[in-house]
Subunit: 295 residues, 6 copies
Amino acid sequence: MERLSESVSALVSSYEDFGLINHCNGPNLPSRESIEDILADLDAIIFPGFRESELPDQESLQLTTAERVFRTARKLSNEIEKSLSFSCRTNHFSCEGIGCRTMAEMIVEDFFTQLPEIRRVLSLDVAAAYRGDPAAKSIEEVIVAYPGLQAIAVHRLAHYFWVREVPLIPRMMSEIIHGRTGIDIHPGATIGESFFIDHGTGVVIGETTVIGKNVKIYQGVTLGALSVKKDEADTKRHPTIEDDVTIYSGATILGGKTVIGRGSVIGGNVWVTESVPPDTLVYVKTGEHILRPKQ
Amino acid sequence: MERLSESVSALVSSYEDFGLINHCNGPNLPSRESIEDILADLDAIIFPGFRESELPDQESLQLTTAERVFRTARKLSNEIEKSLSFSCRTNHFSCEGIGCRTMAEMIVEDFFTQLPEIRRVLSLDVAAAYRGDPAAKSIEEVIVAYPGLQAIAVHRLAHYFWVREVPLIPRMMSEIIHGRTGIDIHPGATIGESFFIDHGTGVVIGETTVIGKNVKIYQGVTLGALSVKKDEADTKRHPTIEDDVTIYSGATILGGKTVIGRGSVIGGNVWVTESVPPDTLVYVKTGEHILRPKQ
Amino acid sequence: MERLSESVSALVSSYEDFGLINHCNGPNLPSRESIEDILADLDAIIFPGFRESELPDQESLQLTTAERVFRTARKLSNEIEKSLSFSCRTNHFSCEGIGCRTMAEMIVEDFFTQLPEIRRVLSLDVAAAYRGDPAAKSIEEVIVAYPGLQAIAVHRLAHYFWVREVPLIPRMMSEIIHGRTGIDIHPGATIGESFFIDHGTGVVIGETTVIGKNVKIYQGVTLGALSVKKDEADTKRHPTIEDDVTIYSGATILGGKTVIGRGSVIGGNVWVTESVPPDTLVYVKTGEHILRPKQ
Amino acid sequence: MERLSESVSALVSSYEDFGLINHCNGPNLPSRESIEDILADLDAIIFPGFRESELPDQESLQLTTAERVFRTARKLSNEIEKSLSFSCRTNHFSCEGIGCRTMAEMIVEDFFTQLPEIRRVLSLDVAAAYRGDPAAKSIEEVIVAYPGLQAIAVHRLAHYFWVREVPLIPRMMSEIIHGRTGIDIHPGATIGESFFIDHGTGVVIGETTVIGKNVKIYQGVTLGALSVKKDEADTKRHPTIEDDVTIYSGATILGGKTVIGRGSVIGGNVWVTESVPPDTLVYVKTGEHILRPKQ
Amino acid sequence: MERLSESVSALVSSYEDFGLINHCNGPNLPSRESIEDILADLDAIIFPGFRESELPDQESLQLTTAERVFRTARKLSNEIEKSLSFSCRTNHFSCEGIGCRTMAEMIVEDFFTQLPEIRRVLSLDVAAAYRGDPAAKSIEEVIVAYPGLQAIAVHRLAHYFWVREVPLIPRMMSEIIHGRTGIDIHPGATIGESFFIDHGTGVVIGETTVIGKNVKIYQGVTLGALSVKKDEADTKRHPTIEDDVTIYSGATILGGKTVIGRGSVIGGNVWVTESVPPDTLVYVKTGEHILRPKQ
Amino acid sequence: MERLSESVSALVSSYEDFGLINHCNGPNLPSRESIEDILADLDAIIFPGFRESELPDQESLQLTTAERVFRTARKLSNEIEKSLSFSCRTNHFSCEGIGCRTMAEMIVEDFFTQLPEIRRVLSLDVAAAYRGDPAAKSIEEVIVAYPGLQAIAVHRLAHYFWVREVPLIPRMMSEIIHGRTGIDIHPGATIGESFFIDHGTGVVIGETTVIGKNVKIYQGVTLGALSVKKDEADTKRHPTIEDDVTIYSGATILGGKTVIGRGSVIGGNVWVTESVPPDTLVYVKTGEHILRPKQ
């Protein structure tokens, strides 16, 4: 027990030596646990009756929704207040004039007024997934079982807060759903209506990507940057995908000036670093591998 | 608070405008939470003593198993009844004559009679993983730590219900384990004995894939469709992999008529859209990349 | 009910026929649930205040740390004792002389003395991630939201126990974080300071890989083996990556004798099975795909 | 296992033979678990910040209160609907015309409008307890630690629903707090302002008891009925206690016509079955026991 | 922290000095937590649908009951095995010949065959409560809200195990329900059909009490012993109450030879140490207290 | 929903009008929930292995105890700090000079040094209960099933903090165990070694009571005050019970100057307001009730 007691002291010293600690005396950060809770609550507000075991009946839908909205508003206000305070103290942001708490509550109130619009957009994403996957048997199946839809739903929420310059939280939201689906969409990415990701594992969509309407992408697609220099953080580093584009599995499209023109199709495993005109098919040259009998 | 109250009303209206809601007045769906519970229970029935902290001793194994079987049977009957009712009301399926509840209970009873056979097949998968991975130190390590094995175990359960045309649930099972392992096997795929997936992240195996015995595949392998038109949903769109085939990481094999012949080896990153004869090695042509000194 | 009762009997028989069971009469294995608990506790000891909702203030930091260390020490001792006993009984390992419990406690005590050093190394990994990703806005963001950092943190813990030849547990740790991040690092891999994995889904790093300092890798990179014969399990089968190397997404580097020389850059999707000299750029030949207008 | 299987069948038969079962095909009852939840929620609404660990700050008090009110309103509506439906089907009550659900929601909405008044009355009870007990050090101590106050608080809630003729629920509330405090107040009892019960274990206050203002009673006091004939259930069977009366421990006062006049004091262990005039002291005659040296 | 570390050592020493410790090296006792679980399970088996929120429907009643019976059988077998082993090692009891585990399982199997009969007797207790309390509005109210019924139900279970000489567990059951209701019935007491306790707080019924049919008792009644000498532990020390007796609140009846004859009524607060003939009223003499105006 | 929204506003206003609210802007109180947690932890430290389901083995007893002590120390420090701050701000107490946090930690550290002594005293209470109750079959039965022992154990802890003038917490501890056992011992009471309470429901022991060694009391006993005037709060208002006294059920002993002399026995239901000499028997006069045949 003595050695363990010494390790405790050594650890407490190490907290001063190597940072990596976040306590009340320093700026107070939003917790991952709370953000997960909030996402679960928002999921239930957006898709009522789909994922919980207790089903809302018509009669109690008003009360249930009111309860959920106020609970989520309280939790969101707390976490956003923390993240704004963090930025205010570390100088990236300023709530001066009105204070972090009031700013947090204003953002939250505004967010809830936008939620019906977010639901409208998501209903288009659901329809796109149903149309886009021959294996999909019903709209309900898309809602209960498609990871791509979950990733897009969280992205549309995270993106809202990203645009309002809420620190940390949008990124935490993205990483939570990345962990669950293997789909990594940076909250900064701008994504149009009727977006569909199939299978999805390994998809990466960078911060300054712009995606149009009716775009469909498959597992393992990267929409990335050519350069990763820290001082280019504020420039557009990721590609633009215009309306009605399809990108098959494993394709990689890089660069802030790269534009995939409207209606084009990018084949599987293709590597693109320059723009592609509209209505173009891009595919890997055949005959690139060798067949040989096992001896 | 006033703005939030207005948002509540706007959300309730939006529930009528944009659907995406599932309440008691509509058809009642199986919940993801319940399916996760059921999978955990089945896991404990299949691998008793491996994942829970409370170990079954010899004496209480009978009581423990009986409790688990009856609990899981009750939960499964409820969820299957919901999914059958959903289909009956939306016209894809009919339990007429005997009713959804009775049909659900018959499926569940039959399922449990098949479970010992599923355990037999899984014991072959465990053995294949142990043989196939030099890093595996023991059979027990495979059971407690191999995501490939988890994915196959859930697939063999989900496939049982897929064959019986239970709606939604097989797909929900697949997506739950896809979320945990990054391995996306459609419950419709037919997979033979002694199947081994190593590492597994990014693997996609489509609905009409047929896989023989002793097949081994690595991370990032896609067994997919060439066409994704909705009206071809009922044809065989995914490849056939015969016995004793190995497919290395990142390979993509597409098309319902593509057959990889018995004993062949598909190399890493290979892209195949046509059949490969038995006992053939397929690999990427060398010299495809360029080396240049950094200036 | 009768059919279910028969299924219970059939299952109990099947436990004797097809193994896949772990009960008290056989060797007692560490449970996945306990290892997950232990990782959560260690995470809180390493990054205090970052992931839990209850924040440690300066005053209670000592008490909180002591409590966490003793709790984790107790749980770890129990699980390590189980895993050592398993090996002793199945002949891969011997605690003779001092017994499994004492050996377990010695390993645990030693582990905690090393934890401040592990924190020091992780603080370098955090800094590397912040420097390496233009999208990273703060050190705190890296800690709360980067899956690559989580994977490295768990690897550094798992590797400690791997080196001490603790069976099963290091591998279970790796698979838990693999499941959450899609990053699969074998606990045997040797990894230098200031390591950064971006996005990370699909990364595979094999058992005998050796990685230097300041190495940066992206999603979908495989550091793997050329041969997977069981009898070569004890040889170096995976590559060596020297200091200051960057490996872009989807690259595959195979073979125990393959060395990527100091300062080299491996481009996206490159397939390497032989050594690359220091300060070399390796990239995929251009013009490998075809553009064609959609008719 | 066979004998247990037979017992299961015997139990299921016994459910038909001896009733004592409540299932969905019969009337659906409010559950004790839900009523306990509701009482905890109402406690938090009435005494915010006193019993939970998460403290409401000024800023979030509105959001927290809204969330609690809507959650409790939803739960209460559900449970009251069940209890009204139970009565409608078993003929003691009728919601005809508007239906049980609407009736339930009307009662709940009205209840919440009365809650501020209930808080006002409870604040007088708190003050009475503080004045009445020399051992009370602060108002806060009364709120956090006096079982008498808890019992009165629950009574004032239960009585509200009793007056509106909600079946079962008021009685369930009373029994929940009876179980926790040993104080058994029938929800039908009418109790004036500034009521104080000290210690309280064993107190029984019957259905038709009427208690004035500023009454104080001690542990073991019974305010009961002389007759317990079922056909007198609708008459006043329990006593009337006028303003400013004190009743010491163990006293028993019985009978619907018994009136304890304003300002009187009933001594410990006194047995009263007839009225007592105002401003009277009643006490046990001295000299009723015998002292004898132990031999 | 140093002083706390010293206290830890002092406590560990104190465990050897002052006992009061129960660890694996000593005999393993049943845990209160497990017995509480078991009682909740048995409550659900006896009164299905009354106390849980998830209601059993007709269809799933068989599965639900089977699950509950097997779960409770497993838990009960474990706890009874512990308590038998405890007695075997400390010499009060002997399972020799068949062993504690087998003995435990035999007791449990037999218990479940008796459960339908226990339900039959409890249905008479419920009816007696409904008849006996003018305030009772329905049979359902008695089941959901009468602490007297809960206490009798637990007693009838505990008594079963007492008669089979299971150590510790019957007494733990009694104390659990004593804590919740204030009704203290020793598991050894023999109690006839149609027993009713109203209010109940403070009731004490001793180990060797014998109670007939149709007996009714009120709060604060003691059926106790005159002598409490340890060496008289095996004699009948508590009274006999014959059929159809009513005992009002606060009455005390003491002594193993005291018999309250059939049909008698014992008034409130009466103190009885000798037998009372059948059909007798016993009540406190009037005029025992003094009325005096407050000056 | 509108009416509920109005009720929310009315409630928030009522929080300002009628107090009964405790929020962060006001003094922060210890929570009942935390005190319950702390009592459960202390129970496990005092009686290791008796009430939890996870048994400490010899090997892990040190680690387990260390973890428990540090966890409880942290929680206790937090709650005591809150209660000291409450008093400091409301002027009953002053931590000036060292501050509430440091004072709290000093009290906690000292408390743990006294815990072995508290265990020694409790081992005598356990022995007294075993000797005093003929129905007790073993020492273990007393520990797992005697509410009197639980009440005394909590009292000895609460009294420690009462003596150190910690506000609120001692009283909260007493009320928690009062709620569970029906035994109401004020934390200020001074109680000697080898104290035994049998059955216990309804026992009340006042703040300034002094009890010697080897005292035994039964259910329903009150040791109370004659006067309850607020301005006499600081005088001795409750009786003194000397060594070796026994007090039977329902007896009431009142007054700060009342002394029950060493070795005396107070009979059931006796009412005492004056001192009783040593070695005296006090009992109720016989012949106080009337027997009469029913009609």
